[in-house]
Subunit: 335 residues, 2 copies
């Protein structure tokens, strides 16, 4: 279904795209779930990303039912008057709209279909939005399980990192039943500046995976080009300016340059602290590799990028920002 795209800016400057704008069909499926009122919203997974995302929902007046496998991270929310549940099942019992933000496919399967999972107590007509970055095929499986329970599952992974999560400027890539996009949008717009409908369930994950694979390839390419230029006698700032006004331009060169001192306010000028960890990039590239294998898609540079980030995880770069690939390439064995 090639969605004919309407590109509209909501009054508050939030941009979203939607498929064909039809009035929400199958009202029966959603009327059991109150849309307008600020009924409680479940939020599961309060890590680096989930914590600021949940706070943005609070700022927009949504009472929360929270759960995290590490109870300590819920303390500040409890002190702020929010409800904390003892399991994902309990969250499903108390809320008919739930957002999950989990580290891996395995965690997602556990939270949804585990012994104390959402599916144990989910109510008919509930809307379950998973913003984790997981394997698209796992999203499709979970969607089938959820549908059997008369509820709706949408994948909505994010792009933008911790900074954008705090400022509420994430990009959400949403896959799922088009009639439910508006309901998801209402919540996601509290946490993001772009909410993009991508198509059937799983396509949100695919869009995220494709973006992060291209990001990894252009970051390594930028690091290689900058390193080659510096070793050929070029001033790094000058070379970055030339690339950024020429056909080599990319986000990694003009917004997140990996060479220390070329840009302020990016991890490369802060000893590669903060930002997006090498181990997370290696994880996303693993998802791209699986996706390419299952769809028989040749990804020569994508595969090599995966191996480079996997190697870096074994050389002490796991926790460093993924732009530290420049430092990795510069290492020289002393003669």
């Amino acid at each position: 279904m090639a969605a004919s795209l309407g590109f509209r800016g909501a009054a508050s400057g939030l941009w979203y795209w939607s498929g064909r704008r039809r009035p929400v069909g199958s009202l029966a499926a959603v009327c059991s779930r109150s849309m307008a009122s600020k009924t409680p919203v479940g939020f599961i997974g309060l890590g680096n990303m989930g914590n600021p995302m949940a706070k943005n929902l609070m700022k927009h007046g949504y009472p929360l039912i929270l759960y995290d496998v590490f109870p300590d991270v819920c303390k500040e929310f409890k002190e702020a008057g929010e409800q904390v549940a003892s399991s994902p099942a309990e969250v499903a019992e108390k809320a008919d709209r739930i957002i999950t933000m989990l580290p891996s496919s395995m965690n997602a399967v556990e939270v949804y279909s585990g012994a104390n999972g959402i599916l144990k107590k989910v109510k008919k007509g509930s809307l379950l939005i998973d913003s984790s970055t997981i394997d698209p095929s796992v999203s499709k499986e979970l969607a089938k399980e959820v549908e059997k329970m008369g509820a709706v599952f949408m994948d909505a992974p994010v792009s933008g990192g911790v900074g954008a999560a705090r400022s509420g400027n994430l990009t959400f890539m949403v896959g799922g039943v088009e009639d439910e996009f508006a309901a998801a949008q209402e919540l996601l717009e509290c946490m993001g500046s772009n909410v993009v409908y991508c198509g059937a369930v799983g396509t949100g994950q695919s869009a995220k995976i494709c973006n992060n694979m291209l990001l990894a390839i252009s970051m390594i390419g930028t690091a290689e080009a900058m390193n080659l230029g510096i070793r050929s006698g070029l001033d790094p700032k000058l070379l970055a300016k030339i690339l950024n006004m020429s056909s080599g331009r990319c986000w990694s060169s003009d917004t997140y340059n990996p060479v220390p001192g070329v840009m302020h306010g990016v991890p490369s000028s802060n000893n590669y602290q903060g930002g997006f960890g090498t181990t997370l990039m290696a994880k996303d590239l693993g998802l791209a590799q699986d996706s390419a294998t299952s769809t028989k898609t040749p990804i020569l540079l994508g595969s090599l990028a995966h191996q480079i980030y996997r190697m870096m995880c074994s050389k002490g770069y796991s926790k460093k920002d993924f732009s530290s690939v420049f430092q990795y390439l510069r290492e020289e064995e002393p003669f």
Copy 2:
């Protein structure tokens, strides 16, 4: 010498950067060469790029002394009243400012130091600007030879392709003695919208090579990501929009998308005709490979990109635009 950069826009909107703005030193070296008057300018190499570049010099009122190894390509200039020489040496006899635009390092060596080369008749104080894309080490060698003759050599390869050559919007990356940059700039601004001083001789070539290597890597990355997304059920136009608003954004995705139908006015929507040939990209990547080898710089993705474009040259893609890598990746053997 880390040039402290002044970023100034000439009145006509032409932007250029220069190193420290000092009055032109060693006047003796240049006063034998008239700067202000429109004395004849030599132009050698009237191929796809050289032809429109020479015409832009004509439009700015410079009489030309022309030469090309294929006499036919000089006919239209002769009919327009320009002088055509019988050899590079004759051009050097009649003009003390010469621009060369040649296909390879070998051609450059022949034109400068061959039996009927420029160096046979070059006058003291002449300014020789080579806009070919060649090996930086060859540029450095030629510069030494030229210096022995009391003349000045600058490398000034271009970015922007045939379209920019016609419209006079090329980017020139200039390497050479800083005091001569102003003299080169006067001529190059007739053909380009950006004239960037990069440093010592050879750094112009290095900047071009680094840009084109990053361009090749991000084009292949874009082709792989778009192909993976399409095979995962995503609409190509939608995926391109998502990439272009996210961290995967690059010139190859937002300005020169390789997927037919995603953008108008680019080779991918014209059966990959025109644009920048695969064989030319393979040549530039060969220069990057040599440069990386001689500077002991690891270019994992750059090397693989070189092999991919080299392979494409043996599979019927030589004359197609380099964005045809998307088509190359999509080819399937019939089951």
